[in-house]
Amino acid sequence: MTENPRRGVLVRLLRNPQGAICLVYLLLVVLVAVTSPWLAPTGPSVTELDATSAPPFTAGHLLGGDGAGRDILSRLMWGSRQTVLACLIILAVSVVTGVLSGLAAGFYRGRFEAGASFVADVIMSLPGVVLLIALYALTGPNIPVAMAAFGLILAPTYYRLVRSVVLGVRNELYVDAARVVGLPDLRIVGRHVLWAVRAPVIIQSSFVLASGIGIEAGISFLGLGDPAAASWGIVLQESFNGIYNNPTAVVWPALVISLTILALVLLGNALSDVLQASARSKPLSPRARRAVLKAARREEVEEDSILVGSSDDVVLSIRALRVAYPVGGEIREVVHGVDLDVRRGEIHGLVGESGSGKSQVAFSTLGILPREALILGGSVLLGGDDLLEDGVKMRAARGRRIAYVPQEPMSNLDPSFTIGKQLAYGLRAVTSLSAQQARERLVELLTRVGINDPGRVMGLYPHEISGGMAQRVLICGAVAADPDVIVADEPTTALDVTVQAEVLELLRELSRERGLAMILVTHNLGVVADLCDVVSVMKEGRIVERADVETLFESPREAYTKELLSSSRSVELMEIQP
């Protein structure tokens, strides 16, 4: 994703086969529309007796003739003029009204936004065809007016799109920065907001045109078009009326209409691939996935890792763990062979900066890596079983023997269930407790994690409790089934310092009381000093140094560890003077 976004949208679109084919087809339609007066074999209403209901591929009538003896090919070619005209009208009306009102509503908000949103909601919920039928009573057969009206009916789709993009951009700090820097409103809209709106509007236009062509053809088909003019919808209607005499005549208009709509829809999809290409990695296909894993396994045999330190009190061992992600066609390895042992009652700190791969190690031990992740090799050993090898054992261990405490307390509770319910679901999934027993256990545990009124809290929804309390709830959920190991991923990073101190205290007490082993992933060396017994320092997917906590802080070996220490000590507080 280092390509310049301003340059080469067209080039990239043409390089996308789907986009290129659709674009060429649509250009062809426009070309036919422009040149039909010269190119069409006959005029739109020229009748010839021998062409009446002629089958396709008759001499002089490639697609045959209709019931009135008119050449179908010619009529379709002339009809494309009306289609293109209808598209232009719809696009002009809907883009101008929708985009302008969306920009104004999103940027200035207030009453205008309330009013415009109301109107948009109303229009969007009314079936457009019914309104067009009502309009016909006033105007009679008048396709341009009907299309302009349909443009207004479609305008809310742009309005909503643009408004939501603008609202998003408005909250971006770069718009605030532009204000502070002294840019006038109009410049901010032109410079920062219009740019963000451009791509979604182009994509949306493709879909709007698709429905425009459908409705234009549909209206003519209903008999609300101008019967004297040639249009795809009218050709379709006439062929359909004569379907028993000449069934194949229906095929051509139906095909042209469907193909054109399909081309626009596919073009829209291709455009959104090109314009909104995200740098996020996508899951590989199962076959590619197997190939990558096979290649990695072959490599691994030569590496052969040593099973060290498997003394009796080791609860969980990670061996030669390698994790990778597919990024733009290549496989990028983010964890390069990590070994780690956690003993009973030991809190093992896994420290590193962002991108060091520490969270990937944590997720691997629980089998909760994102779907696109690839475990290239290694093992997670729990009581002699390799959990990475055996999915059934992993699922059996999760929650029961290895538990998880996440980083963001609020987003890790299901918003649709009460605290009590979701805790009980988890507990009962891994134990054979009855509902009543589970509840009793949870009340007891919630009290233990420092929640004073557990009965009431269990009846609350996640949005009704504070972040600190939510983290206590999640810790309660983790320890509920009495696991051997807890994997805590930055458990206090999202909390205020005063709450952090209390949560660290709680984790320490729980570990001591229950002889819990813990892997504590964090970037904060203060947290490590407070809580951990052993520390592993990670950098760029590797563990660069490991020692017990006193040794590491007193005499670090690696330059990187020293830099981490001095950086974090440089922002540290002196002791309070008595």
């Binding site: 009573a137 006033l138 359909f240 379907i243 709509i261 829809v265 199962p286 998880y404």
Partner: protein
């Protein structure tokens, strides 16, 4: 919560007034035009003038609308300018036809799109890709073209189902079923394709949430994670999809009724509009808006009930 519902109700009534007035102005706006259409193209100007007065089209639009509204409140929507049949009478035979098709399609859409959307999102891989391709195809081809293809195949080539016409269920249940099957299938393909795609997005969005990872880590089985937690949290966007589907089905039915010659509301509106029988047009518009508003209201109600934040406030 009661306050939100009351607000919704007031809002719905406001929409009803605004939209009916707007369409009333459109349909009744051109008095002489209507009179000329009723009398025929060769009518003399003075006859047209007399007809305008006879039909009450000379009064100010607001007065006409007031009269219409007053009548509507007591169940009188006027009568056809041509046949004298009352609008309510015409609608009473037409509305059930359209509603039957729309409701059957909606129920099938809901069931199938949830099934397909969840399958595509959860399975991923080739299942997802095939379903996505089919959904693009299904969304792109307009319902009336699907309908024509169906007529072509089932009624003309294979002759297994009736192409056109409608049999009332009171006369023959199997005949009724046969007469609505093709219309329902024609509507279903497009609505299912687009609803399934949207439902897939909603499920994928929920699946990517942090709490889903935490639920899995807590040892909850994948089946429970999907059916209890993911479905529950995708329900609100799913409902929005279904109410939007209802609106598009009401529109699609107009075309379908034309293809299959079904005596529904859409056909009534279309035929009446072409001969400027405006009271009939107005009647069908009113029924359509009322259906839309009722669906909207029920949708909002369900969303409020589903959302703990809205409920506990």
């Amino acid at each position: 919560m009661a306050l939100t519902l009351l607000k919704n109700l007031v809002r719905s009534l406001a929409v009803l007034l605004v939209v009916t007035f707007a369409t009333f102005s459109l349909t009744f706006g051109n008095g002489p035009g209507i009179a000329r259409a009723v009398l025929g193209m060769n009518a003399r100007p003075e006859d047209v003038q007399r007809e305008v007065i006879a039909l009450g089209l000379d009064q100010p639009l607001l007065v006409q609308y007031g009269n219409w509204l007053k009548g509507a409140l007591s169940g009188d929507l006027g009568a056809s300018f041509y046949t004298g049949q009352t609008v309510t009478n015409a609608l009473s035979s037409r509305v059930p036809v359209t509603l039957a098709i729309v409701v059957i399609t909606l129920v099938l859409t809901a069931a199938l799109s949830v099934l397909l959307g969840v399958t595509a999102a959860v399975k991923g891989g080739w299942v997802d890709r095939v379903l996505q391709f089919l959904s693009v195809l299904g969304t792109a081809v307009p319902a009336f073209i699907v309908a024509i293809v169906l007529v072509f195949a089932f009624a003309i080539a294979w002759r297994v189902l009736p192409a056109t016409g409608y049999v009332s269920p009171e006369i023959s249940l199997s005949g009724w079923l046969a007469s609505v099957t093709l219309p329902v299938v024609a509507l279903l393909i497009g609505s299912m394709a687009s609803a399934a795609a949207q439902f897939r997005t909603a499920v994928l969005d929920t699946l990517s949430r942090d709490y889903v990872r935490t639920l899995r880590a807590r040892g909850i089985s994948e089946r429970h994670v999907i059916f209890r937690h993911v479905l529950r949290n995708s329900a609100a966007p799913g409902l929005t999809v279904l109410s939007l589907t209802t609106f598009s089905l009401l529109g699609g039915a107009v075309f379908i009724e034309q293809v299959f010659a079904l005596p529904g509301m859409g056909q009534l509106a279309n035929q009446s509009a072409q001969i400027n029988d405006v009271p009939m047009v107005m009647g069908t518009v009113l029924v359509t808006i009322v259906i839309v508003l009722v669906v909207n209201f029920l949708g909002d109600l369900a969303t409020t009930v589903l959302n703990p934040k809205a409920r506990t406030r």
